[in-house]
């Protein structure tokens, strides 16, 4: 019994320490994001890494999600003769939920892991300390540009992902389910409102912040050696994915609840 209470207490303490650490790290990171100097080259490099190189994975994910969504909604809605709502369901699902969440989760896997591995390796090989000795604040040089790039790139990725996802639904609707192309397009746009897309993009910016922050945090406090960096990478992806799902519900409840 005592052993159980001890391990429970240790777990609660460890969790509290981690939450406190993340809150402190976030505060400090946000402070240095807003204070010059801004490392333009680093920001551009991170935007290419996070944004450009994530395009194929986000594009493929949303394309097939749009296609599956069209097929599934058609077969489901056919049971109560509501097939003509397929285009509307596809576009609203993609822009409000699937686009931001799927893109966020895919980028968390690709970028969160890569950031944690890169910064973790820099930690264990003393490169972060070296930055300090070379009159450069690691938070400004390493963390700031990644967070800025995440916040800027994720909405762009999601916007492109939304278009590709809706296009995927269109392909299935028109070429597989025999919808009339112009009717499908008009149904797609008929019930779509600006706020559907906009809130999806707001979510994407929040997810970009979460992904880069978790990657930086776990990399910065990586344990020693390959094992430590490996754990940091796993923790970055898992924590970013969980936080994305929590943030997604929170934002949805806030705007649509």
């Amino acid at each position: 019994m005592i052993g159980f209470v001890q391990s429970l207490g240790a777990s609660v303490l460890a969790l509290s320490r981690m939450i406190g650490g993340i809150v402190l790290f976030t505060t400090i990171a946000l402070r240095w994001v807003l204070v010059p100097p801004f490392y333009g080259r680093q920001i551009v490099r991170q935007m290419v890494d996070i944004g450009y190189y994530s395009l194929p994975v986000v594009g493929l994910t949303t394309l097939f999600s749009g296609m599956v969504l069209a097929l599934q909604s058609y077969t489901g809605f056919a049971r109560f003769s509501a097939e003509d709502t397929v285009a509307t369901v596809v576009v609203l699902s993609i822009t409000r939920e699937l686009g931001p969440v799927l893109a966020g989760l895919m980028v968390a896997g690709r970028v969160g892991a890569s950031i944690a591995a890169e910064i973790g390796t820099m930690r264990v090989t003393d490169q972060i300390d070296a930055l300090d000795t070379l009159s450069t604040r690691p938070m400004q040089y390493l963390v700031g540009p990644r967070i800025i790039a995440g916040i800027v790139c994720l909405p762009i990725l999601v916007l492109i992902g939304d278009i590709i996802g809706v296009f995927g639904g269109y392909l299935v609707g028109v070429y597989n389910l025999d919808f009339n192309a112009s009717v499908y397009l008009s149904k797609t746009l008929e019930f779509l409102e600006f706020e559907d897309v906009f809130i999806g993009l707001v979510k994407a910016a929040i997810f970009g912040f979460i992904i880069t922050l978790m990657g930086c945090y776990h990399g910065y406090y990586s344990g020693r050696g390959a094992e430590g960096v490996g754990k940091a990478t796993t923790n970055a992806v898992v924590s970013a994915s969980i936080l994305i799902l929590i943030a997604n519900y929170t934002v949805t409840a806030l705007f649509f609840g």
Binding site: T125, A130, D132, M139
Partner: protein, 272 residues
């Protein structure tokens, strides 16, 4: 090596203490380095040498004690003051710590380019001059650290440390993992660079051949304290069993090879 008996004290560390969890790493560390002096800090693995070095430049904050550089207290100073202090130091790390994502010319001129807006052409010229002094070929400028051998990485790290002509140079195990010939070359480069800059030097080393070559003074740390400090010529005749065992590389004696964990990376402090 320099004649420095009459020189003013450059670095004065008094009663420095640092604890990680339950592990008291520095238990009252005292060390004094004169201007222009080359001091080597020796001690078993995990005895706190690197922690002392990181406390000196503010990468790790000491729990108590005093560190004075040119008589100015550095413990408890503001971030801005610490940054100004760091600009007076040049440091090489045990494994080079070159930035993987940057070519050598950008690594070497990293601090110069942070300080002033140098064009790429001028920065490359400066980097070329420095690596030439250290015996590296010009084509190395465009290579990345992973493309260099261990010895070349050490040279590039020294080039980065001396590029801004610092007053104080810190070398953390500059010859570890190198063959004896390359170690000798690195020691020569350190000596030449230090003499050219007139810098005060603190080197951590396990390599006694290297210590004999570059040190004016040797200090040995054991259980978080300096147990002996004196001229390099006297280190074989200290009458202290721990120093004798370490200097002569004896397997048996008062020192053990199971040191406590003092890995600083495990204990990274919250950035400010």
């Amino acid at each position: 090596m320099s004649e420095n008996k009459t020189q003013a004290v450059k670095i004065e560390i008094s009663n420095l203490k640092k604890q990680f969890g339950n592990n008291q790493v520095l238990t009252g560390f005292n060390l004094s380095i004169r201007k222009g002096e080359s001091l080597c800090l020796i001690g078993t693995s995990g005895c706190g040498k690197s922690v002392a070095l990181k406390c000196l430049i503010g990468l790790v904050s000491a729990d108590s004690g005093s560190i004075k550089v040119d008589g100015h207290e550095t413990i408890g100073q503001s971030r801005a003051e610490n940054e100004a202090l760091l600009r007076r130091f040049g440091m090489t790390f045990q494994f080079g710590a070159l930035f993987d994502s940057l070519p050598i010319w950008e690594n070497v001129t990293f601090r110069l380019r942070q300080k002033e807006k140098l064009s790429k052409k001028i920065a490359r010229e400066i980097a070329g001059d420095i690596i030439n002094q250290l015996g590296l070929a010009p084509h190395v400028l465009d290579l990345f650290p992973a493309e260099l051998s261990g010895g070349m990485q050490k040279r590039a790290a020294i080039a980065r440390a001396i590029a801004d002509k610092p007053e104080i140079l810190l070398f953390d195990e500059p010859t570890s993992g190198l063959d004896p010939i390359t170690s000798g070359v690195i020691n020569d480069l350190i000596l030449n660079s230090v003499n050219r800059l007139g810098a005060t030097t603190l080197t951590i080393s396990h390599d006694m051949a290297s210590v004999r070559q570059i040190a004016d003074t040797v200090a040995m740390i054991h259980q978080g304290q300096i147990i002996w400090c004196g001229p390099v010529a006297d280190m074989h005749d200290t009458g202290i069993a721990e120093v004798d065992q370490f200097v002569n590389g004896k397997a048996y004696g008062p020192l053990t090879s199971n040191p406590p964990d003092t890995n600083v990376a495990q204990h990274s402090e919250m950035p400010v």
